[in-house]
Structures are given as structure tokens and as C-alpha cells.
């Protein structure tokens, strides 16, 4: 019988036996972990959308009004959040469908970022660009999983003073962003995981885009009846 054969020879090759078993059990564990984390990601995305449903509609509508007046969108963040900011800007500027609007990430140009970082300090890399680019009909969206990034907060304050619509995406307890008076809207994703927060930021940004698109598709004189 097979069972007996395995039993009778396995002691000769203990390492082969155990490593094969371990690799399979590791792969099973990894797959189960992936499903758990994915389920948490989906739960958090849905919970965040539910929690901020009204505010997302209000913010997206206000963004649409500004785009209709020729407003532009600036997005910014650090590290992985800077790449998510760039993805969000691309969603607005070259969506797979719908109307494109002017939008870009303030971390995208390495000449500008390194010039500012080197000459005036890292905490001013976004603020100085807001000073250079911003008009009062524009929109600023800052993404920070901690809500505490100094370079983002100074840029938000500058943007608010210049009449921009200011939106923050934060995480954990929202940090300084949660209590920043210069933010018109702050969407804090309540999680301790930077990864899960970033995944929810993307979904919240997508909702803002969807709302803005819907409003830009309506006739102006019928929009407020």
C-alpha cells in the first residue's frame, strides 16, 4: 500500500519530506492571508464610502463647478501616496471615459521638486508650487496616511488662503489634517494599516471623480433646479 511505502521510507529523507510539506503549508498560509487582507481592504473601502457619502457628493459637486469655471486640480503626497496622487490626477486628466479636466501631481516633476527641496527646504516643495500655479477656481487634494506630513499641511494652508477648494485624504486618526481648519473636506480612513488606507484613498478619489463627472455632464441651467 502507498501509505505503508511512504511510512517505511520517509525516515530516510526527512528533509525532503518536511520541506515539501512546509512549502505547501506556507503557500496555503500565504493564500489565506491574501484573502483575509483583501477582505479587509474591501470592507474598509465600503465602510469609508458609506461614512463619507454625503461629503463626497458635496466635494465632488464643488469640484465640478470649479472645473466648469476652468479650474485645475493639483494632487500631492509623499512616497506611495505621491504615486496614488499621480494616479488620481491621471483619472481626472485622462479618464478611460468621460470628460478630461486639467489635473497633475505636484511630485511629478523631479526638476521642480529637487530644486525646491534643495533651495528652500523639503517642507516647501508643494507650497511653493501652489504659490506659482494656483488660481482661486482651482482644487487641491492632499494624500497622507498619517495626516501629519508637514509639506502637505503648509501647501494646504497656502491653497486655502488663495481660495482653492482644499481636500485631504488621511488615515489612522486623521492626525493634524483631521483638525486642520484650512481643509474644506477631510476624509480619514480609520485603519492602522498604511496599505489598507491607501487602497481606500484610491476608492474615495474614484468616488470624487464619479460625482464630478456626473455634475459636469448636466446642463448648467438645469443643475440647480
Amino acid at each position: 500500500m502507498t501509505t505503508h511505502e511512504t511510512e517505511s521510507t520517509s525516515f530516510l529523507y526527512p528533509f525532503i519530506e518536511s520541506e515539501e510539506t512546509d512549502a505547501k503549508s506556507l503557500l496555503d498560509d500565504l493564500a489565506a492571508s491574501a484573502r483575509d487582507k483583501a477582505a479587509e481592504s474591501a470592507r474598509l473601502q465600503s465602510a469609508s464610502l458609506d461614512e463619507y457619502s454625503d461629503a463626497l457628493t458635496a466635494a465632488g459637486t464643488e469640484m465640478a463647478d470649479r472645473f466648469r469655471r476652468g479650474g485645475r486640480l493639483y494632487t500631492f503626497g509623499n512616497g506611495g501616496s505621491s504615486t496614488d496622487a499621480a494616479t488620481l490626477a491621471s483619472l481626472f486628466s485622462r479618464p478611460a471615459h468621460g470628460r478630461p479636466v486639467a489635473a497633475w501631481s505636484l511630485a511629478a516633476d523631479e526638476a521642480v521638486v529637487t530644486a525646491l527641496g534643495n533651495d528652500v527646504g523639503f517642507e516647501l516643495i508643494f507650497k511653493r508650487q501652489i504659490i506659482a500655479h494656483a488660481r482661486d477656481r482651482d482644487v487641491a487634494i492632499a494624500l497622507s496616511t498619517s495626516g501629519n506630513s508637514e509639506d502637505l499641511l503648509t501647501a494646504i494652508t497656502e491653497a486655502k488662503q488663495r481660495g482653492l477648494l482644499t481636500i485631504g485624504f488621511a488615515g489612522h486618526d486623521g492626525g493634524r489634517m483631521a483638525v486642520a481648519e484650512d481643509l474644506d473636506f477631510c476624509f480619514t480612513v480609520h485603519s492602522q494599516s498604511i496599505h489598507r488606507i491607501q487602497e481606500s484613498h484610491a476608492m474615495l478619489g474614484y468616488r470624487l471623480w464619479s460625482v464630478a463627472q456626473q455634475h459636469m455632464a448636466r446642463p448648467l441651467n438645469g443643475a440647480h433646479t
Partner: protein
């Protein structure tokens, strides 16, 4: 218009989670052997940057920094060709019909590079990459809803779990059973022409998964640098067409 996108996590079923697990173990093994992870995403460059920063500067303190670089120049194939060395890793975040990625994935065999492909929509043909991590959704907005972000976050998280199992970081025992294996068996190997033959000899310098070698190309007509050839017993026996494979569902 869809105002609510499907959460990315809901796509991670038994099959996809198993694909992610297998990919993570291969990633960890290659990193363990000194690999660099090259990342391309011609349609969505920020995803390439996000993968690179994820591995280079982990969000969890104490996790080791791993070499990963986003290749975002206008010709990512040329960039990946010169950057990659045998044993390295190439990850693409792209749809199945992205020409530069289709091309890079084919050539990776000649470069000796293990390939991973994250995307959505119609799938690439089976075998187009060593690991195909796919979201089966026709929604064109998937790349902007955090779903790809979730995929490479999971890949990073699982890869670091593998490092806690050093005994399992040796090459998988069934590696030589795969049809992409070039170190054993009598199968043809894919090579990429580095130097065309000089006038007097029928030998071309060809890059394969094992490194560079001079190969008899007298059976073939004119060859140019970067042409793909199939090598058998020291000779190039045919040129591989550069026509893209058809995308299948």
C-alpha cells in the same frame, strides 16, 4: 456611469490568492539570490513607481529594503534590456494588449528574467509571464480604484512573510519541470541577438538566460541586434517573429 466601483478585495478568490502566494515565494527566492525587481507600467507609470517605493522603502519599520526600480522611459523594453541581468525579476502592471509589455515579457526569457504581470480585462495568453496575477473585470476604471494597489501591496506583504522561512528560499525542486527551463533537456532556448555576424564568420553573439554566447547562425538569413532566435545545440535554428501574440480571453 458607474458611481460605485467593485472593491478590489472582492476579486481575490481561491485562485487569485494561490497565484499571489506562488508569485510571492518566487519573488522572495529571487531576492534571496540577489535579484533586482524592475517594474514597468507604460499606461500607468505611477503604479510602477508605487511598486518600487514599496520594496525600497517599506512602510513597516524593520522590514528589509529590497532593490526595485521603476522603468518609465519612453522605451521600457530598451530600458529593461540593458538594466536586467540573469536571475532578476520583471513586473508589469499593464493590460494584456500593451505592446511594450507583450514584447518585454517574450524577451525576458532571453534575459533570464522571471516575469510577473498584474492587470485587468482580457487575459494574456497562458504562459505569457511566469506569474499572471489577473483581475477578471471589463471595467476600464479598475486601474484607478485601488485594485492594482491592493495586488502589489499583497505581493509585498506575502514576499516578506516568505523571508521568515529561510529554509524554503532555495529554488523550487520542480523548477526544471517547467517548459521555460533552459538548463536541462533538449528544448530550444530563446536568445536575443547582441552582435550580428561579422562578414567572415557565421557566428553571432547572442544573449540567453545563461549569459552571452557565440552561436552559429548560418541557417538563418540576415540578423539584426535584438532579433529573437531559437537556439538548439549551439546553433540558431529559427527566428522568432516579433508579431504580438493574440490576446485571448
Amino acid at each position: 456611469m458607474t458611481i460605485t466601483a467593485r472593491p478590489g478585495g472582492s476579486f481575490v478568490d481561491a485562485d487569485l490568492s494561490a497565484d499571489l502566494a506562488a508569485a510571492a515565494l518566487d519573488l522572495a527566492r529571487r531576492f534571496h539570490d540577489g535579484a533586482t525587481l524592475w517594474v514597468i507600467s507604460p499606461q500607468w507609470e505611477p503604479h510602477a513607481h508605487h511598486v518600487a517605493v514599496e520594496f525600497v522603502h517599506p512602510v513597516i519599520m524593520g522590514k528589509r529594503a529590497l532593490p526595485s526600480v521603476a522603468l518609465v522611459e519612453p522605451d521600457p523594453v530598451a530600458q529593461a534590456r540593458v538594466a536586467s541581468q540573469p536571475g532578476d525579476l520583471l513586473l508589469a502592471v499593464a493590460s494584456a494588449d500593451e505592446p511594450a509589455v507583450v514584447d518585454a515579457m517574450r524577451r525576458a526569457q532571453a534575459w533570464g528574467v522571471l516575469t510577473l504581470w498584474i492587470g485587468s480585462g482580457p487575459r494574456p495568453p497562458a504562459g505569457a509571464a511566469n506569474h499572471i496575477l489577473w483581475i477578471d473585470s471589463d471595467d476600464p476604471m479598475v486601474p484607478a480604484t485601488g485594485t492594482f494597489v491592493l495586488m502589489y501591496h499583497l505581493l509585498w506583504e506575502l514576499t516578506h512573510v516568505c523571508f521568515e522561512h529561510p529554509g524554503l528560499l532555495k529554488p523550487s525542486p520542480d523548477e526544471c519541470a517547467e517548459d521555460v527551463c533552459v538548463t536541462c533537456g533538449d528544448e530550444g532556448r530563446v536568445g536575443e541577438v547582441v552582435l550580428e555576424p561579422a562578414d567572415t564568420t557565421p557566428q553571432a553573439l547572442v544573449r540567453t538566460a545563461k549569459g552571452e554566447e557565440w552561436v552559429d547562425v548560418s541557417m538563418l538569413g540576415d540578423l539584426k541586434p535584438n532579433d529573437l532566435v531559437l537556439i538548439h545545440a549551439g546553433a540558431a535554428i529559427t527566428t522568432l517573429e516579433s508579431d504580438q501574440q493574440e490576446v485571448t480571453r
